[in-house]
Each structure stands twice: as C-alpha cells, then as structure tokens.
Amino acid sequence: MALQRCDVEKIAHLARLGLNEAELPHITDALNSILGLVDQMQAVDTDGIEPLAHPLEASQRLRADQVTERNQREAYQAIAPATENGLYLVPKVIE
C-alpha cells in the first residue's frame, strides 16, 4: 500500500520535520521507492526466529552509582543557539 501525501505529512510531523509544499511529491515518491525495497522482507520466513538487537548479544554494562562527571555547563552552553542566566532559551511555551 503506497503512502499518500497525507501519510507523508503525518510522518513528517511525527519526526518534527518541516517540509516545503514543493518537496512533498518528491519525498512521497522517494519514500514509496524505499518502502518498496524494504517490503521484500515480508517474503522471508522468520517463524520461530528471535530478533537480534546487538550483533554480539551483549547487554548494557552497569556502573557503580557514583558521580563521575564534572559540571561543564559553561562549555556546553557556549555552543548553544540562545542561552540566558545559564538556561537554554526557547520560544514561550506557556501563555
């Protein structure tokens, strides 16, 4: 089932991607072409096969619950688009 323009608009919203109106037909075609390739998977028999998430099947390591990082707020905020008094600035969220 091919994606329609409205599906692409919904996906773009989920991904918080602002697309130009003019780009929508191209991106709809490209996504349908990619999903056509991906749909070849459906013909593969995977009954009884466990999904593989980590190639070596390792699990996440745990570490001791200790403070190991020092505060680097200034270094990190120096590269932010907008900060004030040590806070990141965004457009007003609450009226």
Partner: protein, 483 residues
C-alpha cells in the same frame, strides 16, 4: 615525502631522516594546492597540526618513541575534535565546535598523531557516493569525474591522493570498505565494539564502527593498534584484549581455508570486477590458501533489513538535533513546534530527511512488528549464515562492490539505486563482523576492491592475509595521475 606510508614515516621519524614538523608542513602545502580539485577536506587544521607536530618532535627529542608519534592523520568529520568544527557534513552542525574529543581522536592524539584536518563525508554518514555533503561532492582522484564512494569519501580521496598517509573512517553499511575499494585503498571495519564509538556522531548505533583507512594493510595494523580497545564511555564497547596487529602480518597462509560465497558472484556484479576477484583468489592459492565454495542464502535480504534498522536508529539518534542545545536554529521561530520543525527542515539535507522519515514510519504505532522486528529477525538469519559458514572456513572473500566508481550525479535522485551498491558490505554490519577491503586491480583506470570477512575479533587475520597479498602484488603502491 608524501608518497611515504605510515610504516615508512615511523622509520623516517625514528632515524631522524625528517621531523614531524617538516612532514606536516609538506602535507599541509600539498592539501592547500591539490585539494581544491578533490574537496576531500571540510576543515584543514593548519595551526593545530604544526603545534602537534612540534610537540611530537619535542617528545621524540626527549627520548620517547612510538610508531604513531609525529605521524599525520585526517579524521572523518564525525569524530568530535575539541575546539574544532565537527560538522558531519551537515548544515545542521556547520556551526558546531565540539566541546570534547572522541575517544579515537584522544587516543591517537595521545600517541602523538598530528591532525591535518577533518574530511568530507556524506551528510551524517548517509550515502555511498559522498554526494550528499553540505560542503559539496568529493571527487575520486583516479578520475575526477567519478565519485570516491562514501560515506567516508573524503578520507578515501585524501589518502588515495597522498594528502595524508592515513585517515579514520566509519562504517555502518560499508562506508569504510566501499570508498576504500573505489579509491584503491586498504580499509578495515573492525568487529562491532572493538573501537569506541564515544564522540563519534551516531547514525545507526547497533551498526556504526570506526576503523582505519590507509594504502597498506601494514598501515591499517599500526593505526588500528592506536584506535582499538575497551572504553567505559561507550556502553557497547567490548572488553576484549587487543592483540599486536603488526606481529602476525607475515604469518603463513598455508592451509588457510577461504570461503567464496556463490551469492557474491550472481547477477548485478560487473563481470570485469569478477575477473579481478578471481585473479586475487589465484594469488592467494599460490600463497597456500585453500578455496571452498560456500553459501550465504540470506544475503539477498540484507539491504531490505538494513534500510529498516539503520533509518529506525537514525530517526531516534537524530532527534537530538532540535535547535535548542547546539547546532542550527531557524530564524524567528513562532513557537516551540515551529522551532523544531523549521530547524530540522532547514538544517538537514534531503537524504537525511528521507531516512529519518523511513525510520519514524517503521517505528510508528502499528508498523513496528512488520518492519523493525521483522528486520531484526532477518538480521539473525544473516548472522546464522555466517556462523554456519565459519564452521568450515577461516575467512570469506568476495568483491567489495558490484560496480566501479560511477560518474558524479549518475544515480540522480533515485535513492534505491545507490542503496543497491552496498549489497556486499551491509551483511558484515548486520552481523557485527570485521571486514577489510584491499586493492585488487583496475578496470578502465578505476580501482577494484576485494573484501575479506572474518569471525569476531579476527582483525589480525584479515590484516595478515591482506599484507601477504600485498607482498606479491603492487596494486596498493600505484598512485593516481597528478597526485
């Protein structure tokens, strides 16, 4: 001096034939005069390089030694380098100065390597031609009308053109091996977890792996030695001892069992590449290797599974680029949603947007089982194929790519046409196995690569076989005209 390999540089610096500073200034001048033809660097770190070279010379004068001390390198521009722009070849990070060093960068700098600059790449490592860079396409030094491969295309072109002896690359679906093949280099994707991913800007976290790109296997061994090892900062780093990769380079290949997967020689492979691969098999037989035909029946499903898993992980990883904490922010956002949408819509290029959207779709409610879970099951089938094959052979050999380097722009706007170029390399990422591409000839003046795959953590074996092959062939010594 620019023709020297890393191993030759190490000897030259040790016997004081030249200093690190002399070598560095020679290469910087070469980059300045030749790179405008190639566009292989995004940032040249002249001052930093000279400073690091002087420091290395001082360390050597004080009695220190080491194969990497004073040797130049270029880093793919997704390894964070403190105080230097780390752009990922994206408008999104054009203004991003990394506040810390990636583990790989820190380890190589501590060993005394000199950073010449940051190399061009496909935006966020998504591509096989290095055409999706915000900073423009990279040209292949073997023919300036052709692509160098990708996504580590800048690293490949810079090493092939003798602008740097070695470079780092990363490989998520073939991004070290494929450009190495298309530019006549030796490139190694290590076992997943062998090289730290900390500070390496993530594309698909369960597939990404950094590795060395060089002209020879001997140089890859030296560089991998400096890159590999456990890192507590990378939660998927594997705590395995690192062997001496140079020690086994000359080991005999007598009786080595090499498997040739019949699926690698089917429709879609350029017959002229097949011929060169056959010739390399004969060379390895002369060196004592025993050839066996094998089968990897699920290989044909790898691209489909990859183009679910990689975009799904990318859509999650790239959600951090929101215009708030770092990177590009749109002008005059009217509210928070507008800030996110326009910053991401304007900051990401078209291929990155496509993959984010494929990933967001595959992970969205109602589709997860049909896409992501299905792809992970196929991933296990692919791994099982390899495990079965490695019961009967020590190594697997085939072409690295189905085609030669194509002309710039030849794949147009059809993403799927380019995706199919990764058909032979993607399986190693899905299974987490180490893989190496080595130069194996030329067709119409364009390089051909042969890929070797080994069981987990057997990078030393790959380097050994490639090194022995390079003792009886000279493909890796040839330089492109004009470079």
């Amino acid at each position: 001096m620019h023709q020297l390999t890393l191993a030759e540089i190490a000897r030259g610096l040790a016997d004081k034939s030249f200093s690190a500073e002399e070598l560095t200034t020679t290469l910087l001048a070469r980059i300045n005069s030749l790179d405008p033809q190639l566009n292989s660097f995004i940032t040249v770190t002249d001052e930093l390089a000279v400073q690091q070279a002087r420091a290395a010379d001082a360390r050597r004068a004080a009695g220190e030694s080491g194969a990497l001390l004073g040797a130049p390198i270029a880093h793919k521009d997704l390894f964070c380098t403190q105080g230097v722009r780390t752009s990922c070849a994206s408008k999104m990070l054009d203004n991003f100065t990394a506040p810390y060093d990636a583990t790989v960068v820190a380890k190589l700098a501590a060993a005394g390597m000199v950073t010449l600059g940051k190399t061009n790449m496909d935006e966020f490592a998504m591509g096989s031609a290095n055409e999706s860079s915000h900073y423009g396409a990279v040209k292949n030094p073997w023919n300036l009308e052709h692509v160098p491969g990708g996504s580590s295309g800048g690293s490949a072109a810079a090493v092939a053109a003798r602008l740097t002896p070695v470079a780092t690359g990363t490989d998520t679906g073939g991004s070290i091996r494929q450009p190495a093949a298309l530019t006549s280099l030796t490139g190694l994707k290590p076992t997943y977890g062998r090289v730290s991913r900390w500070g390496m800007i993530a594309y698909a976290s369960s597939l990404d792996q950094g590795g060395p790109m060089a002209r020879t296997a001997e140089d890859c061994a030296l560089l991998l030695q400096g890159m590999a090892g456990f890192d507590a900062n990378d939660s998927t780093s594997i705590d395995e001892p690192v062997p001496d990769y140079s020690a086994s380079l000359n080991a005999s290949l007598q009786g080595l069992r090499i498997g040739i997967p019949k699926e690698y020689f089917g429709a879609g492979l350029d017959p002229r590449i097949a011929e060169q691969v056959q010739a390399s098999i004969q060379e390895l037989q002369k060196l004592g290797a025993v050839i066996k035909e094998i089968s990897l029946p699920n290989m044909q499903h790898a691209i489909a599974a990859y183009y679910v898993i990689a975009p799904a992980e990318a859509s999650s990883n790239l959600s951090r680029f929101d215009g708030v904490r770092f990177g590009y922010r749109c002008d005059n956002p009217k509210d928070l949603t507008d800030l996110y949408k326009r910053s991401r819509g304007e900051g990401f290029g078209v291929e990155v947007q496509r993959r984010i959207m494929v990933g967001a779709y595959a992970l969205s409610a109602g589709y997860y089982d049909a896409y992501y879970l299905k792809a992970q099951k196929i991933r296990r089938l692919i791994k099982n194929d390899f495990m079965a094959a490695f019961e009967g052979v020590d190594l697997i050999l085939g072409p690295t790519t189905p085609n030669l380097a194509w002309k710039l722009g030849a794949k147009g706007n059809d993403p799927v046409a380019a995706y199919l170029e990764d058909v032979y390399t993607i399986t190693a990422n899905l299974a987490g196995l180490p893989g190496l591409s080595m130069p194996a000839g030329f067709v119409d003046g364009l390089p051909v690569g042969v890929q070797l795959l080994a069981p987990y953590f057997q990078e030393a074996r790959l380097l050994n076989v490639a090194h022995r092959y390079q003792q009886v062939t000279d493909w890796h010594t040839r330089a492109p005209n004009g470079f």
